[in-house]
């Protein structure tokens, strides 16, 4: 494998980060066309397609890169399609979810597939959003927690199954591309 100078390596990292952040933003945008709220009319329900990419980055590259891409996606998504409230909700959910993934990476990752990891990530993301909502609206919002946990099982499970299928192939491809 050819070695890269520090400058080239930093440039590659920045270019890759930009492309991945844009891809995550695109997935968030595409997701807004899926009418989940007509099926479950409660605030905060999303399929979480962008989280597929964030988890792929987390386990293919590094947690720090996943944090950077996730932060870019959340800020850009709120600026383009959301509001300060949605930014606050997403930031709290994203932070708790990434903290959970980090804990799993050093504990149970050898025993779990993406199915379990994605469910835990989704549950923590929803819990983080509810903590943010409770700061704005009061503790009554925790009534939603069990419904959110069941939604995490369904939507996190779907994302996890997708990751189980694509990670063995796509993980190698994007990692290989990063070192060329």
């Amino acid at each position: 494998m050819p070695t890269l100078s520090r400058g080239k390596s930093a440039a590659l990292l920045a270019a890759r980060g930009g492309m991945l952040a844009l891809s995550a933003l695109l997935l968030s945008y595409l997701e807004s066309f899926i009418p989940i709220n007509l099926i479950i009319p409660l605030p905060g329900f999303k399929l979480g397609l962008a989280n597929i990419l964030v988890m792929l980055i987390f386990f293919t590259f590094s947690p720090l890169e996943a944090l950077a891409v996730s932060a870019c996606r959340i800020i850009l998504s709120a600026l383009l399609f959301g509001s300060p409230v949605s930014l606050f909700f997403s930031a709290c959910g994203g932070a708790l979810s990434l903290a959970g993934l980090l804990a799993l990476k050093y504990t149970l990752v050898g025993k779990l597939s993406f199915f379990g990891i994605s469910i835990v990530g989704a549950a923590l993301h929803n819990t983080g959003q509810l903590i943010a909502a409770s700061l704005l609206f009061g503790g009554g919002v925790f009534y939603y927690l069990p419904v959110m946990l069941i939604a995490s099982l369904i939507f996190g499970g779907i994302c996890g199954i997708i990751l189980n299928i694509i990670y063995p192939k796509l993980g190698k491809v994007i990692k290989g591309g990063g070192h060329r």
């Binding site: 949605s86 199915f115 009534y143």
Partner: protein
Amino acid sequence: MKNRITPADIAVAAGLLALALMMILLPPLFADEPAYVVISVWGEEPIRYPIGVNREVSLISGGVSLTVTIEGGEVSVTHTDCPDQLCRLTGRIGRRGQSILCAPAGVAITIEGGESDADFIAG
């Protein structure tokens, strides 16, 4: 990292489902009867209305208007000009602890238990 669903995955999913079901099934066993509809805007001091008295409450917050209807021991948002309409789509709620949220307006409508008075209590 495993590429197929493992027994540990199933245990995680089952644990989460059990936790969610416990949260749904246990609280009603210890709950008071629903007594008040509590409406708060951006977490400020809420206004309470007895759930047994039919009425309509109109609110405007953050440029969003809402009409909250209390009828037959249930509450719903019957009209809003909020772009996502989620609060209206939530439908009618009537059990203690249930909430309707409108994030753009910062409005939370929650049902609380306790001894109900005949008139509404502000503050």
